[in-house]
């Protein structure tokens, strides 16, 4: 027989004390969704089951005891830290869930400038770690738009990527070791080493698990020397995305490592660059960094490659630098955007996928055309590629629509999920991945078996092995 809400709260309080268990009804209601159903919080219309409590452990031992309690009593838990998820991973899919909030575990354990690695508890905001690293002339190299508000545990759990990924990689390239707690309270520490060939890389059981397998308590990431004085920006306008993808490919294949390499389609460029572009312009941009010699060689090499595409017209690099300096989202920007949505019922959503160079333009063109033809009330449909690799790139679809004729709580069913469906279908048809860096969450879980194909066996076996009682974030990654 499932525990009552009262019994769950009592059980948690016995572990962490009453001050570390939140039962305020308003906070619990608002915590029943994340940004996937953000309109429910913006308009205060809620449909998801209300969690029983939010518990804030202060150390790994308490996390272990909470997971032991949850596993024994079959209580669903939702791990979170910064609560910036966008794909429903933090939604309470079942009644009386418990949110384990790691934000109180916020100590920076070490910044080791000699071995070039930093260790932080899960609740350390990335901005805090980055600022401390900068004081020593170092950087984590990780800079997602959510940097001011996202925490280290969540970034690793969702397999995050940052704006400088072409140089530094995604979070999976940065994590050298970590500590996590598995269902039943098993504490696991993966030691920090440069590399090892001692069997499978078990970091990847934890990285990107989205709270469906374990709770991450501590991570160790690489550090890099920071040379902001050498940062250089480059920008061009051009008339079609296909050329943009070709230039990105040429840059990657020739071995250059700009920290930023992006191409924006006309719709998305209109949002950011209308002060120097025409209505039908795409924008191609790069940022080079590193030592003076590396930055200079990167700039020269990229300029040489772009020069082979005469349809690209250079723009003043100050446009790119000024724009880039204002790109991160902080709490005030999020609040302002919520107010804009409240007044206009005009919603901005994004969906990111990846594919090889042969397929990416087809996916972009086909998905965009289908969305414009099949989905009503679209006010902007565009996107950009912002993370490139030797064998392909990502596409970050960026779109706006007006919510018309339905309540705000129905926005996901009428607009958002159908658009996600089109993008996933067109991506899967061409062999791409339906998720580049936001995580599967609950939003894209319906497509997870198609995403994995025969390798779903491996994924499913992980779930069965580590979470046999199914108490870890029900509905996330694995459909309910």
């Amino acid at each position: 027989m499932p525990l009552s809400r009262e019994a769950i709260v009592e059980g948690l309080q016995s572990i962490v004390g009453p001050d570390a268990v939140v039962t305020d009804e308003r906070i619990l209601i608002e915590s029943s969704v994340d940004n996937f159903r953000k309109l429910q919080n913006i308009f205060d219309v809620h449909t998801m089951p209300v969690p029983a409590a939010i518990v804030l452990p202060k150390d790994t031992q308490q996390v272990a005891e909470i997971l032991r309690f949850a596993d024994k009593n079959l209580v669903n838990v939702i791990p979170r830290t910064g609560a910036t998820a966008t794909e429903g991973g933090l939604e309470s899919a079942v009644a009386d869930s418990v949110i384990i909030d790691g934000s109180a575990m916020n100590k920076v354990v070490s910044i080791d400038a000699y071995n070039m690695q930093a260790t932080a508890q899960c609740g350390v905001p990335l901005q805090v770690l980055e600022d401390l690293a900068r004081e020593q002339g170092l950087t984590t190299g990780h800079s997602p738009q959510s940097k001011p508000v996202a925490h280290m545990g969540g970034l690793v759990a969702t397999r995050s990527i940052g704006q400088f990924s072409t140089l530094y990689g995604g979070i999976e390239d940065m994590v050298v070791g970590l500590e996590a707690v598995f269902p039943g309270g098993q504490v696991t520490r993966i030691k920090n080493v440069p590399r090892r060939a001692a069997g499978p890389d078990i970091r990847h059981v934890v990285i990107g698990n989205e709270g469906a397998l374990c709770f991450i308590t501590e991570v160790t990431v690489k550090l890099f020397p920071y040379f902001p004085e050498n940062n250089a920006f480059l920008g061009w306008t051009l008339k079609d995305m296909k050329t943009g993808f070709e230039v990105l490919r040429d840059v990657m294949v020739n071995g250059y490592k700009p920290s930023v390499a992006r191409v924006y389609d006309p719709g998305d460029a209109g949002l950011h660059f209308s002060h120097f572009t025409a209505e039908d312009d795409c924008v191609l941009l790069f940022m080079a960094e590193g030592t003076a010699g590396i930055a200079k060689a990167t700039v020269e090499g990229i300029a040489e490659i772009v020069a082979q595409h005469p349809e690209c017209t250079p723009v003043d690099s100050a446009y790119i630098e000024t724009w880039f300096n204002d790109l991160c989202w902080d709490a005030s920007k999020i609040t302002a955007e919520d107010e804009r949505i409240r007044q206009t019922r005009n919603v901005n959503r994004t969906t990111e996928i990846s594919a090889d160079w042969s397929s990416i333009n087809d996916i972009y063109q086909t998905a965009k055309a289908r969305i414009l033809a099949e989905i009503p009330d679209i006010t902007m449909m565009g996107g950009h590629s912002s993370h490139s690799y030797i064998n392909g790139t990502n596409m970050y679809f960026n779109y706006f629509f007006n919510v018309v004729g339905v309540g705000p709580e129905e926005e996901t069913d009428k607009y958002y999920l159908p658009i996600i469906g089109i993008i996933c279908e067109e991506t899967l048809k061409r062999g791409g991945s339906i998720v580049h860096h936001h995580g599967i969450g609950k939003a894209r879980a319906p497509w997870i078996k198609d995403e994995y194909g025969s390798s779903y066996y491996v994924l499913e076996t992980l779930k069965k092995a580590f979470d046999p009682n199914g108490v870890m974030n029900v509905g996330t990654i694995f459909p309910k």
Binding site: D316, E321, W323, D326, R340, Q343, I378, N402
Partner: protein, 272 residues
């Protein structure tokens, strides 16, 4: 009823770096490299004008909506957006010169357009267009037209009898005034602060509709002479509004609250 909303496209000052504020004080901050946006007061005026037109339509009062902007082609995208939202008249007055910190010239052009071209009955403008702006353009326009001006308007509504009532903020509360037209409304801190967004279908429907562009000469306004009489900024500096902060320690909210009281509030209370 002919309603006209006048707006100004401004640099996104929020996106400026601190260094840009002092780059070239003689011409104002360096704004070349940031995108252009609708300032928030004008955005309120444009949305309020739309809502008023719809409400008048509901009371069977014929109302035709127009939009005016003074400046270069950077306003054209916004004027096309307004077309898609139902603005019937969309005009840009090309002054042939930058009109930052030039309220007299701006007011002369708006008033001349209203009097000579648009012949509107009700004019809505934002109270100010951005940092450093004088905030006097609505009053100068009203003076030139000989119309009354209601300042700090926060809402506009259509009454069942077809008349228009405006709410404005005063020192000691809100004032509701039923308007006798023509008049100027200077829109202030309205609760309505965002303009609705047209769908791509709405945009497509007016894709080929031209914008009207009027030169200053056609309005018989001598912009060059007017600019000589305007006062520009002599210098600019960033005002440091940061305040020292203290992170209150404690392992639990209770401990933090206790520390906040003991270390910070209690000493202040004892001083009372």
């Amino acid at each position: 009823m002919r309603i006209l909303a006048s707006f100004k496209i401004t640099p996104d000052y929020e996106a400026l770096r601190p260094a840009d504020w002092t780059a070239d004080a003689a011409d104002g901050p360096e704004t070349r490299y940031v995108r252009r946006i609708l300032n928030c007061f004008d955005e309120s005026a444009l949305e309020l004008a739309l809502r008023l037109t719809e409400a008048l339509d509901g009371h069977a009062v014929a109302a035709e909506l127009g939009a005016l902007s003074i400046g270069g082609p950077e306003a054209d995208g916004h004027l096309k957006t307004l077309q898609a939202l139902g603005y019937r008249r969309t005009t840009r007055v090309d002054a042939g010169a930058a009109l930052d910190f030039a309220p007299g010239v701006s007011a002369a052009l708006i008033a001349a357009f209203v009097r000579r071209v648009d012949r509107s009955d009700l004019l809505l403008l934002g109270s100010r267009s951005g940092p450093g702006d004088s905030g006097i353009v609505p009053f100068l326009v009203a003076e030139r037209l000989g119309w009354p001006c209601l300042p700090q308007v926060t809402d506009v509504e259509a009454l069942p009898n077809g008349r228009v009532r405006a709410t404005s903020a005063a020192d000691d509360g809100l004032v509701r005034a039923t308007l006798r037209l023509p008049c100027v409304l200077a829109v202030g801190n309205a609760a309505v602060s965002h303009l609705r967004v047209p769908t791509l279908t709405q945009r497509l429907a007016c894709r080929d509709r031209p914008l009207d562009v009027v030169g200053a000469a056609a309005l018989e306004v001598d912009v060059a002479a007017g600019l000589l009489r305007e006062a520009g900024p002599a210098s600019l500096e960033v005002i440091d509004r940061s305040r020292p902060g203290v992170v209150v320690g404690g392992a639990t909210p209770r401990e933090k609250a206790q520390a906040l009281y003991e270390e910070h509030l209690k000493p202040l209370l004892e001083m009372l």
